[in-house]
Amino acid sequence: MSGIYDRPSPSQVSRVLQDRCRARMAGMPDDAVQAYLADAVYLERKRFHAGRHSDPAPPAEIEAIEAAARATHQGRGDQERAVLALVDAYAHEIHNVFSQRTYKVATRVIPSALSRLLTSTSPRELVRRGAFDPDQRLIIETAAGDDGAALRALAREHTLIFAPTHVSNLDSPLIGYALDRLGLPPAIYGAGLNLFSSPVMGFFMSRLGAYTVDRRKQHRLYKDVLKDYSIDSLGRRCHSLFFPGGTRCRSGRVEDRVKKGLLGTGIIAWQEGLLQGRPHPEVLVVPVTLSFSLVLEAETLIEDSLEEEGKRRYIITDDEFSEPRTVATFARQVLELDDAIVLRFGAPLDLLGNPVDPLGRSLDKDGLVLDRRAYVTDAQGRVARDDQRDHVYTDILSRRLVDAWHRDSTALSTHVACFAAGRLLRRAHPRRPTAELVLLPPAERPVARADLLAAIAELLAELDAMVAAGRIRTRLPGGTGDPQARATAVLDEALRRFRGFHSRRTLEDRGGSVGLDPRLVLYYGHRLHGYGLQGEM
């Protein structure tokens, strides 16, 4: 049974995390313990200072850090106690108790009010529009091509890590909904502190398996506590949802790099399970891809992506999600679209990135079962912990995860039309850097409709070959017939979808020409980045 139904109390969690931290500090020399604490003090004070006007920290947090600051000048015992006091505070902040009752209610109402749940706005309008059948809007696919039976079987015996691409703030609720639709147990997931700011959203999230992650806390101690929390939760057989890309992908691309912090907790939890002889020690990874026809936050995300690297914001709190009217418009428009979102659960992998069979056994390249424990055991078959080795293993898993995301992503009409439009801009301005291309004056932006159709037809032929090679998936109108007819169907669908959606028109039909917004064209076209297609904008 999934451990999510039997979550420990915050004080139990705190004790476990303190024990883990104590064990970590036991291996540190005195100056390392002092540096561990000082790093937390320095970065927290810096954060408090930077946010003193815009985002003042609660007095209790400031007090805790000042107490820790005093301890840095005292002996090791005091320093360790100060570290453990911070761990206790973080444990209580991070951990939320899952409520099965809330979960059941939420999954029952989601089909008719997913957006309301997400935003706590405009419920009357959603009710007025009648029943929302999410199965027409949200396509849920599994690699096994079944109703989730294969994943359910794996989830009964093993602990699963769902590792999705991260596009929108809608991702985690959608995945939560999809897990329920497939009859899978809920998964715990880390949600940014800012998402708890809405009382309604916070109420539900804290009871739907979300634990709180404060991304503003950048010091090592906090990151260690988060990792320990994840290791402990996996060890308790809580299926977990990680976004290995970290935050929402600003550029619109399928992520090609991932953060290995949380992902790396899987292999530690697995080895701990083996060492302790737990009955279900195995941990598997399920790549998940979300392909959105339209992305609510597209305008903000691409603006952020185009900013200089150093100025990029890690947490966006003023995007489209903060504007109720925009969210309502988005909800309305998405609810009107068929195949608006494709959510695919890919083929599960072991923690080394090998595929697994229906029983969860690892397979080699010839499809033969291999003993994956040999990756972490010595010649005598004993588990031999090696952090450096495990870090490289997680690197390998990350690369294989990125490959799976690319293979499993679904190209939709909006992506195809925008990539083709971007290609036309690139051809017209071959030497201009992208940063200049997105600033093209309005007069230079429109492309001839006939040219765009030809570019789409050309791209469709390339995509057909990629689909045949298993490199990507597509869900496009127009069947498989005449290239020109297919291109027309794709363009018309994309134009229809973009109509009135963003504040700036992504693609706009102007009779013989198509007007475009280069930034949004870049954003949606980016979904086809990373496949080796030539002539990218």
Binding site: L352, S362, D364, K365, D371, Y375, T377, V392, I396
Partner: protein
């Protein structure tokens, strides 16, 4: 420690000598005739399964087939001990191991250790690289002895690239020697050759220091001073109007393809590729290189 060596040629036997010198039990996996003077086994899979470390000492073109036969498992540690990229695909030899088997713990070893010199117990040094620290350390324990120093590195990509580049740049050295252009030109080829590999290495995420170390400068200087080094010998033959063997040609082509993929100019490697493909006379190639646009070094 049990060391399995896949490949019974000169280099395989030299590695077995080094392993024995380091106090380890070395066995050579072979096909056809058993290697004289060393314990061996024709069963590559069994040899691999019984070894704490496996060294692959076959030509790059044979690595895939040997790995398919040896089938190293998830517990295996495999170190590539040959230079170059896979002919045809241009793939990294270490990646052939991970794609053709369940083994993930891979590394590479290279440097100025010459088979004949090692066999005669002359001092040598090499660098063993792997992102897995344990693999590099294992290779060090396997081969480090008073006659051969083994340094470790995490820069597997850099070490593999350096090995591949040396096998091509040594051809350029041989060409220059064959044309009797003098030691100055040889030095130019060594330094500018390393400079172009550093550029490519950076694009690949490798550490530039790797190319200035044993795997790069060290190996190339050794090759330049050795007329019977395979690359240098091939260059000498080409300078005298001979035809390149397919192995030399494919190594050069693979390097050039890599440069193109990463949009890095490799003038020396490109010249070698043209000479080995018979598209350009050796002297004209040198002339072309000297007439390139003047530029700055640093």
């Amino acid at each position: 420690m049990n060391i399995g060596i896949l490949g019974s040629g000169n280099w395989g036997r030299a590695l077995a000598t080094l392993a024995a010198e380091a106090g380890n039990r070395a066995r050579i996996g072979y096909r056809g005739r058993p290697p004289g003077g060393f314990p061996g086994s024709p069963n590559l899979a069994a040899l691999t399964a019984e070894s704490d470390l496996v060294l692959v000492a076959v030509p790059p073109a044979a690595v895939r087939e040997v790995i398919r036969t040896a089938r190293p498992g998830p517990g295996a540690r495999v170190v590539i001990a040959c230079r170059g990229l896979e002919p045809g695909t241009g793939g990294w030899l270490s990646e052939i191991v991970t794609s053709e088997s369940a083994c993930l713990r891979v590394g590479a070893i290279t440097g100025p250790a010459i088979a004949n010199e090692v066999t005669h117990r002359r001092p040598a040094a090499m660098v063993a690289a792997s992102p897995f620290e344990e693999v590099a350390l294992l290779a060090q324990q396997a081969l480090h002895s008073p006659i051969c120093r083994i340094y470790t590195s995490r820069d597997l990509r850099g070490v593999e690239l350096a090995g591949a580049a040396v096998s091509v740049l040594s051809v350029a050295v041989g060409v220059a020697d064959g044309l009797k252009l003098g030691v100055g030109v040889r030095a130019v080829i060594v330094t500018r050759g390393i400079a172009e590999v550093v550029r490519l290495g950076r694009a690949l995420g490798a550490d530039a220091e790797t190319f200035r170390g044993l795997a790069g400068v060290g190996d190339l200087v050794a090759a330049a001073g050795l007329p019977d080094h395979p690359g240098t010998a091939a260059g000498l033959r080409l300078a005298q109007g001979g035809v390149a063997d397919p192995d030399t040609r494919t190594k050069a082509e693979a390097m050039v393809a890599l440069g193109r993929r990463y949009k890095v100019e490799l003038p020396l490697c490109e010249a070698v590729a043209e000479i080995t493909a018979g598209k350009l006379k050796a002297r004209l190639a040198i002339d072309g290189l000297m007439r390139r646009e003047a530029t700055k070094e640093v």
